[in-house]
Symmetry: D2
Subunit: 337 residues, 4 copies
């Protein structure tokens, strides 16, 4: 019996507590594929899960990370979409094929309620994987399932932004940088914030139309209004949470939208302005498989390559999370397997 | 020169400070109609404007009330939609004909930034009035512009509810009772809350499918979950504001919607659950004229009559606001002129 | 080994050529359920498939009928939604869970490219069945998968009709009668046509607001315009095809919609009016599983029972098709097994 | 009293029958603006109106052309959006501000039921004009009201195409070339057809991803399927009408859309495939004013300049129509005034 190497959370010790274990390589059941993983990318969610697994209801060993790409090793009975040798990327939710989110989606999230992909081999459902766009490497593809799809959902399917509109992007993490790239390809004007002039310069080189250093402009929402003739933006991709949400509300136009992804900074908000300005605030949680396929089409047709900040070896995986903890990265941190 | 009687806010004294004045009857300019008003209805907004006009930026005399119905007395140049003798109801916003809300809509709200309709004659824009459905009296029609259209917007165009869905309605004020009537006609199942068993009984007679006395069930959101097999409702018409909003968030299903109308009770909220449950929270501010016309079609086709709690004479108008202050009413309070 | 009875098409002989055969009762594989069928309903599609199987690319034996309901006998590995004893109804397409139609949907239609349900036992995919609403019998549930869902899709999800709108329904076949029932529950005003005054009377008793005998009024589109103040209806549920399509185009309002289901009568059309009147003509092909679930919610919440014209025994199944051939039925023809 | 020069149709004689007349310069009434026109562009509709005014119900003199741009000379009472000196472009429909098309829109089309803009001065409604984007000349702005907005409506608001999708564009007339430019800015992949390799080369230089010479490939729909892995395009911008419509139906994917603009070539179609492939065929008739404003935002934000093939002097206006009659142009033909 052959074995695979996997990193597992033990429920304590945070990043330092991660340990590598051996597991038997599983056989794909009906409707499943066995994937030889080649790369992972990491998200804040993965870091926070590792740091506090109990808060997510995880007890005992759990393989972290939702995002992985690799090669199909073997397919189970009835699988028609994939064959051995195919390059595939997993979907964040194994049970969300299409349509609106529903109760059964949540328990199928990789690297949370079920094992993730920080390992050499894993089983995915046939409907829980997609072909990798031809122009992307495994490392690039591994950045898509959570951050890439979230950015797309926030901007396009959820945020309903399109050519001629203006979107506000907060910071230079994975979601915001993907949003910048998708916006650029879509003719959506962007205003992007960061505390670092160097990062703002990199964002401009990716096509950000306007940038604001929020260290210099603590009231950056006023700056946003200035840049939009006093009207405000059509859409905010809100990754900061309650700490920034009231500023985002101030920065969006009457009748505008806010796609709410992360609540990094905590805190409360006053809903009055949501009502007064007829704002739509929509919680976004990754997205379904067919939306991921549309993202892939967009990346392929427009020759977009994800922005990778660092590539770390599998045996040094802890280092990847430490980079994320420092929050100094621009775009995605990847682990190669 | 002929004069009209009008009630005006003086900026102080609240309801007691209202006074009746004489004004010249104006002549309709191009694109305007002169309306002989026959009825008004009142909303919390009107009461709060009277009690604190300065908070709305109103200085000096202002005629209150957004909602009025009457008869066209004379039409200005170029008016083609109306003739003298037509029964008409005004639109809350004089400048919102169709499509999404925008910056120019707000300054055209009757009874706020511009004079309202608590008077014998008023000018409306041609695009700021609609014919009264044939089956409705002036008193009934006067209930529609704010509460009726808000309920429709919350439920139908904004809330996207329809046959087979379940909506949660809070209380028995004008918006909630209209929402109940529209839901009943639309095949939308409702769960309605109140602190009064007698009001709940009246709501049931209007078609409420399930009712909850929130005095008896302080954790009424748990009761809502029970009544929806643990899933939660598709839509909440949230008229209570921050005090109830977190309960509404708990009571709505994953991927559900909350139409946010009023912030009666104040307070802050934690946006985390908006994100975790992929909820859409949408601020609703009355609605455009063509939506009002669709509401009227629905009322006509389904023979719906608004629920009127009390009808007060024009000279006793202060009494109407005092009824609203006591919050004991069920449905709408109307002033006949 | 146990056997089941099944009716099969042989590729010739039409209804007379149907023959009953024995087959082994299959075992459910992973993700499959074995259903003991209790009822079928039939559709024109089933009749036309039987009469000309080759036109649908069917060679050799094929069990007809897409629509069946029964009891789960046994579930395969990994099935979580169903247990033995559950009352279930199949979905027309075994591969359409949610979201827009796509290429992989078509080959999964029961009773066409794959075997249907005119038999005692059949395998369905877990995602190819739904629980039967508690208030419905097997016979009633069996009417839903094709005609019921098509009517819903034409009217609600595709046709975007809702309370206050007016829909034109053509004839009294299964789709039109379901559409009448759904429209009634939804507050949608209907105008329904038939060549029989007796059928029109029955339609009125189901809630049809206006009826037109198209024998008496050959130019029934003019009658529709009269009944809509010259504007035309918001939506046509067009089951007649090219023979009636130009009249439907004339009867719909500027900017209105036509949901196109069947092309019973053949013929060509001039697309000019589609453009001139800004009409949306949308082909509707049954619908996805989650839409079926929404239909079921609507039926349950509004206590709607499908209209069944005749119930035929399994061994007399040919008789059911003969009734449909005569086109004298009102609502659905059902086979009990 | 000052006079203006205007070209008028006399109801006969086609292009040769156009004659220049003197008219009094009108005064703007309430809600109107007087515009000193600087440029017109022409559309097939204008040519066909001139050639057969009676077919459009035009009797007597009528100024042709819907599309014009100029400078506000004077504003009427109550006008707040414009002042003398503003650069403005007219809207095709003077009565369509926002929302869906309705019966009152049609009678307000410039250059058809009411006088158009081939003249030195004209009155427009305040809501029948928009500011010219700063980066555009009068000649460029004059190309937008009909062809530019139609292309946008076909592609974006009506066609619902966006980044990652593929659109089929037919020919190199004004609408198709605008659609190409908007698609390019929006990340929409295009396949464009023409009978001329030279025009195809120009289309490629504008960003067309794939081009097909339909002279060489009479069955160009098969070529489209090849270029889309056999699936078909997401959207067709169908400007050709019945002659090409059946090919467009063959070239679009299951569940795809066809925006139908022109019926240049006449003929009938078989609606069967609309149904079988679940296609949405939508008639598009220019669009409302707020959609035009969104188009202008998109042009500004992405620095798009319309493609102008020829600029003809006002006194030689007949020459512009003769160029269009020859159908050899690429993009728009403009008249400078």
């Amino acid at each position: 019996e052959e074995v695979l190497k996997a990193w597992v959370i033990n429920g304590e010790g945070g990043v330092d507590g991660l340990k590598m274990v051996d597991r038997d390589i599983p056989k794909p059941g009906a409707g499943e594929i066995l994937v030889r993983l080649k790369a992972n990318s990491i998200n804040y969610r993965d870091l926070s899960t590792i740091k506090n697994a109990a808060a997510r209801g995880i007890a005992g060993e759990r393989i972290p990370n939702s995002d992985g790409a690799g090669v199909v090793e073997e397919v189970g009975a009835g699988v028609t979409e994939f064959s051995a040798g195919d390059r595939v990327v997993g979907t964040f939710f194994q049970n969300w094929l299409s349509g609106p989110i529903h109760d059964d989606v949540m328990p199928s999230a990789l690297g949370g309620p079920i094992d993730g992909l920080l390992c050499e081999y894993a089983l995915l459902k046939e409907g829980g994987a997609l072909p990798i766009p031809a122009h992307l490497s495994f490392e690039e593809a591994a950045t898509l399932p959570c951050a890439g799809l979230t950015a797309w959902h926030c901007l396009i399917d959820g945020g309903k932004a399109g050519v001629g509109q203006t979107a506000l992007l907060l910071g230079t993490g994975g979601v915001s940088i993907f949003a910048q790239q998708i916006a650029k390809a879509s003719g959506i004007r962007t205003i992007l914030t960061s505390s670092s002039d160097e990062k703002l310069a990199r964002a401009k080189s990716l096509g950000a139309n306007e940038v604001i250093n929020y260290r210099e402009h603590a009231n950056w929402e006023e700056k946003v209004l200035e840049l939009t003739d006093g009207h405000g933006v059509d859409l905010v991709v809100e990754v900061g949470g309650a700490g920034t949400l009231e500023k985002s509300v101030a920065a969006v136009r009457v009748g505008g939208r806010i796609s709410l992804v992360g609540v990094l900074t905590g805190g409360l908000m006053d809903p009055t302005s949501i009502m007064r300005k007829s704002i739509t605030l929509q919680g976004i949680y990754v997205g379904p498989r067919d939306m991921f396929a549309r993202l892939n089409n967009a990346l392929s047709n427009n020759n977009i390559h994800p922005v990778i900040d660092a590539v770390i070896d599998f045996q040094d995986a802890k280092e990847a999370y430490r980079i994320m903890e420092k929050a100094g990265h621009f775009g995605k941190v990847v682990i190669t397997i």
